[in-house]
């Protein structure tokens, strides 16, 4: 039995459940967990894209990692207006800032569905995203489904997604966190490792590889990844990349990462 994944103290700011939800129990329910830290100005665009999904049965879990700029209020206001789109909607707030890994784990722990989409508050998904990823993942042995990305804002382009290939992963991460993950797979590998300086998604994929869990690549542009010079990854991880490489290689000795 895998160790239970640590939960941390939270307060629930909004909790909505569709009436008769517990009786209806839609079989193709998908959870979307949105991790929020001070990205209130991008949040509405993110949440609107979730509400616009073609896949009907969704639950939305917003995890505020103790924002300091009132971003959680943006979330609460939006939910007040749009919660009925969802079978269930939650806004919870960590009592202390815990970092992105824990914010994601909190979302997964609270999720009722078998499949959870990890979405950061500054990103956006196209309307067919959940439906297509769910189609690729449901009823299979894959642990994750992910699509090609469009990068936008300051650096328009395409992402680096490609077919699941451990040899390719060994040379560097090419699969973004924005993916539909089977909850059993997340559970089996002990959830996201708590990593302060980024690469928690890469670490999760590496753990999947080590547990013999494979992913499925959906060759469509379905998700949008915001690139800004001030984004977390560029702020925090660039000076730390050598440390990250050493840390990752220690945990996953089969990696073949080269320092920049």
């Amino acid at each position: 039995m895998p160790d239970p994944i640590a939960s941390v103290p939270i307060e629930t700011l909004v909790a909505f459940e569709e009436p008769h939800q517990s009786e209806r129990r839609p079989t193709d329910l998908v959870s979307i967990t949105v991790s929020l830290f001070n990205y209130g100005r991008f949040l509405e665009e993110c949440l609107a894209s979730v509400a616009a999904q073609t896949h009907p049965d969704l639950e939305l879990i917003i995890v505020d990692d103790c924002s300091t700029d009132g971003s959680e209020k943006v979330a609460a206001t939006w939910l007040a207006q749009h919660k009925r789109r969802f079978a269930r909607a939650l806004l919870v707030r960590h009592l202390q800032n815990q970092g992105l890994s824990q914010a994601r784990n909190t979302g997964f722990l609270l999720a009722n569905a078998d499949f959870v989409f990890a979405l950061d508050a500054d990103n956006v998904i196209y309307p067919r995203a959940i439906a297509r990823l769910y189609e690729a993942l449901a009823g299979t042995d894959f642990g994750v489904a992910y699509s090609q990305l469009e990068t936008f804002d300051e650096a328009p382009g395409l992402g680096y997604a490609d077919i699941w290939d451990p040899a390719h992963l060994a040379r560097g991460n090419y699969i973004d966190a924005m993916a539909l993950i089977a909850k059993w797979a997340w559970q089996k590998v002990g959830g996201y490792t708590l990593m302060k300086f980024g690469w928690e998604d890469y670490d999760l994929w590496c753990k999947f590889v080590e547990h013999g869990i494979a992913g499925v690549f959906v060759p469509e542009i379905l998700c949008r990844y915001r690139i800004r010079s001030a984004s977390m990854l560029r702020q925090i991880t660039n000076p730390r990349v050598v440390d990250l490489i050493q840390d990752m290689t220690a945990r996953h000795p089969w990696l073949a990462l080269k320092p920049p």
């Binding site: 469009e150 328009p156 490609d162």
Partner: protein, 484 residues
Amino acid sequence: MLQRQTPREENTSFLRRIYRALPLSERQRQVIRRVVRLAKIGANGQSAWSLFGRSGAAKTNEAESQALATLKQRLSAFPLFDDEDYLALHADVRASGMDPKTHFITHGVFEQRALAKPETIIARLSAYSADLGGTSFAVPQLTEAELARLRSQEIGVFVHSRGNFFMREIAELLLADLQALSLPATLRDERSNPAACPPISIFVAPHEFFAQEEGTAWTNRKLVARSLLYPTEQFGTSWGTFALPYLLTCRGILESNPQNWRVFCATGVPSLFYFPGFAESENGAAEEPPNHPLLAGLPKAARAFDPAAASWKDRPLDILFIGAESPLREAFFAEHAAFFAARPHCLYYVRLGEKPFAAENDDDPRPALNRYLARRAKIILNLHQSPVPYFEWHRIVVQGMWNGAVVVSDKCLPHPIFRPGEHYFESNAESIPELMRWILDTPEGRREAMRVQANALAALRGPASRPAMAARLADFLLSFLLGS
């Protein structure tokens, strides 16, 4: 002072962009590194040119000067090399005072230096588009005696065993054309004995074949002078540059690009405008789904679809694009991402420097994958990789038309058989999404698409059919026997 350059130190941004845009596998990158090592041999006093200059016999300075002079003469007649551009692009050559053609032949080829500015190349290629309508596609009627004469000569089709899988596919299609006339042709690779080349030897993708280091047994003037070459690369790219000395000194060229074909004719090298012919039986065949992980990510409707039993309008993928990354392509997809995201599509955008899916055995599943996807797509999108707008025969004809898909392309240099608005659709890049929307969503567009699809099929069964292309190929090969 001449600076020895490796491709990484290349100071022309155009070439760097093109180089990055090449669909190179890990194996091809290994080949490039070998070529770079060859170039560095010159630093030890031995000229890189001498590797090409070797004739297998005792090398004399006179023989080498003669070879150099011949190649310079051919290069003078080659319209896509420009002395002034070359000096403008490569400051060290200008500073050294060396003649640009001499530098190119002895160093520039190996260092993959640009032949001319991209705008020059585009302008010159366009000039060779003027009278393509005059190209004859009459099917030569060979007599039984002529065929018998051809059949008495072994034909070797050479392709590098570790090269790009597209090249192997082209070689196999060429072989099929030859075998359709019962010509004794066999597929060979670099492991054959160079001293035992058949009387008619055709080297597919010479840029790959001759870039190898082992023994330099193949890179000698005499072998090249009596061989036919089938180049696959475009000028304005590094690989196009690399093959040039071989192309200018070989016996004859099979060229599938009409502008390049005219250029070679103008240069004085016997050339046939040729591309492998379409055979209905092969392309209508029922298929096994290829063993490729990409299939697992396709919509269920695509995996359940039977192309033989359904019509074009029922195809489950609206749009298919498979291709390597390039700045032009990336800008296009970024700008029109929302259009694609709203529709069932398949975009396989290959990043360079990655290991492609490694097949367990020699049978590379990617040609089968491309066919499988193309038969399930309504539209195949063609976007140029480089600024030079070649008509990309492999994607447009083999992937698109041969599989009953309708091709939408950005603007191409003219082609004598396949014309825009008649056999495929073409527009400038910004208008492509609107064009695709019209084809997919309006009754008029769908009707036009069916008309274009029917026209393409008629062309494939007519001038581009296997019997037609095979007959023209045989006629061309016969001319070498008659001349020998």
